[in-house]
């Protein structure tokens, strides 16, 4: 597998950086190389936040994403800053709360709403997003991703996060049908 570049973006506090870490750790579980990096403003909450993951079977030299195969945006600000204008062929996923004009082909999914309404916990929107990302891009085996999620989340929240992950996969399955 050659280099895959993924860009996850949202607002500070949405767990975007953790989602990137989990995705990278899932790749490591499969013996691949992965690099995760991030950029964010000085503020602790709010502001546009970006987490990038590179997965490769080879060593990763340049650690930043310049040619993503998938971009996620959970907020309008993040969409405008990090996702708009991607070339054709790049999979762009947005939360359906993004209320700005979208490029053609962008996949809009109720990620945050699913976390809030089906699980009662908007905090797991990042895990729902991970399920959706892996559902569409098949970056790692579902078992690896689940294991990586469970390795990182607080004790006692395993069921909640497992459900969140599966609901993410379901969003993709439903959007395909």
């Amino acid at each position: 597998m050659k280099r895959s570049e993924i860009r996850l973006s949202g607002s500070g506090g949405q767990g975007i950086i953790l989602a990137g870490i989990i995705l990278a750790e899932a790749a490591l579980l499969e013996g691949k190389n992965a690099v995760q990096s991030q950029s964010y403003g000085p503020e602790a909450r709010g502001g546009a936040s970006k987490s990038e993951v590179i997965i490769s079977s080879e060593s990763v030299d340049y650690p930043k994403v310049t040619d993503p195969s998938l971009v996620l945006a959970l907020t309008s600000e993040a969409y405008t800053k990090y996702a708009r204008g991607c070339s054709a062929g790049v999979v762009v996923l947005v939360d359906d709360s993004v209320n700005t004009l979208l490029d053609e082909g962008v996949l809009s999914l109720p990620i945050i709403r699913t976390a809030r309404e089906e699980l009662g916990r908007p905090i797991v929107a990042n895990i729902v997003a991970l399920g959706a990302i892996n559902g569409v891009a098949k970056l790692v085996a579902p078992e690896s991703l689940e294991k990586a999620v469970l390795n990182r989340v607080p004790k006692g929240t395993e069921d909640l996060n497992r459900k969140a992950l599966h609901l993410g996969y379901k969003l993709i399955a439903e959007s395909n049908s």
Binding site: V35, Q36, S37, Q38, S39, Y40, Y62, P63, K64
Partner: protein, 372 residues
């Protein structure tokens, strides 16, 4: 096998090398180092203290080191500036310590969350007076682990502060790292063995390094930032002044081969050398690979030890070279040293960037295509 940040790897390296004492004042993008050591160092029997500012953190590190502790502090540009006076004090009093600077955008408060390599010359000349310096620059998470250990070893071996010059990219990026059980040699400072009443804390052995007693061990030990004789008390003698400054330089210069490390890629038959360090070297490595695929004979020369500058290694690569280009996230710092060292032998150019973004492989490749 773990996925760790460079800052986390720095902490693991420091703990593995036997860190006893950390004093610091948090500052992005180095804060994770303090945060993790606050949690981990006390559990290993060490002490962590958050001071009121970077000046006092540097002072605390020096004081702790004089009692025999292995010490470290971490900061970024603005804090590194504040530490400079005491860094000179540590150098002149030959007090081992490690100062980590995770470089961010400057000057002043600058761009706290963005990378730069703008402190290369501050690391060399930030503190006043004639002084030698050791500064190491890691390019990866794993190398950060090993260079933190090495920084601590060199500081103990040569009784001198050592700067670990990281950058925000390496500090914050996460990548795979294996932390082995056995980290190899851990060096502890040389202690005096003679009768305490004969002890001269600044009388060097043949290797120019004086054995160092710990405060409270029964050895008389006076420390001053004033020029001092072997007893440690101030001296007004021109002879002693000249000899001390010279010895401190010789102590580092004569051990150049032990201190200086570089890594090269494709330099054997290279016509163009890209000199790059820290995170920028990762971009350069990719650009060199891409250039080779296009038949451009490029190579990478990566100083791991930034100071002393690896002049001998660079000069030994010069045969066959048509051009040297220095890629760095500043408007021209290490290039000054490269130009000085290769003066007249080969032309030198620069790929520079100071907008808070890592130089891209494409930027370097475009340069290589142009000068080939």
């Amino acid at each position: 096998m773990l996925l760790l940040q460079g800052n986390e790897a720095c902490v693991e390296g420091a703990l593995a090398a036997g860190l006893d004492f950390y004093a610091g004042y948090p500052i992005t993008p180095s804060t994770e180092i303090a945060e993790l050591l606050a949690a981990k160092l006390p559990r290993q029997g060490g002490s962590f203290i958050q001071m009121e500012d970077e000046i006092s953190a540097m002072a605390a590190v020096i004081g702790a080191s004089l009692t025999g502790a292995k010490t470290m502090t971490a900061t970024s540009g603005p804090g590194f500036s504040l530490k400079q006076e005491n860094l000179g004090y540590a150098m002149y009093t030959e007090t081992p310590c490690v100062v980590v600077n995770v470089q961010r955008g400057g000057p002043s408060t600058g761009q706290p969350t963005m990378p730069s390599q703008g402190d290369v010359m501050q690391a060399r000349w930030g503190t006043h007076g004639d002084h030698p310096v050791i500064a190491l620059s890691p390019s990866s998470v794993e190398e950060t682990f090993w260079l933190t250990i090495r920084a601590m070893n060199l500081s103990e071996k040569y009784r001198t502060p050592v700067i670990l010059l990281m950058d925000e990219v390496v500090g914050h990026m996460r990548e795979r790292i294996e932390i082995p059980q056995d980290i190899g040699e851990v060096i502890n400072r040389k202690k005096p063995t003679g009768d305490p009443k004969d002890y001269l804390p600044f009388k060097p052995d043949a290797d120019l390094v004086p054995p160092m007693a710990s405060f409270g061990e029964g050895y008389r030990f006076h420390v001053t930032g004033l020029t001092h004789d072997e007893s440690g008390f101030p001296s007004g003698s021109n002879k002693i002044t000249g000899e001390l400054i010279q010895r401190l330089h010789d102590k580092i210069d004569r051990n150049y081969a032990d201190i200086v490390q570089v890594e090269t890629e494709h330099m054997e038959d290279a016509e163009i050398a890209v000199v790059a360090y820290g995170s920028t070297a990762r971009s350069a490595s990719r650009a060199v690979k891409q250039a080779r695929e296009q038949g451009i004979k490029a190579g990478l020369f990566r100083p791991i030890t930034i100071w002393p500058f690896p002049a001998q290694e660079l000069k030994s690569c010069l045969a066959g070279l048509k051009h040297v280009v220095v890629a760095e996230m500043n408007l021209g710092q290490l290039i000054l040293e490269v130009e000085r060292q290769v003066a007249g032998a080969v032309s030198v150019g620069g790929i520079m960037r100071a907008d808070g973004e890592l130089i891209t492989p494409a930027q370097i490749l475009a340069y290589l295509q142009e000068v080939k």
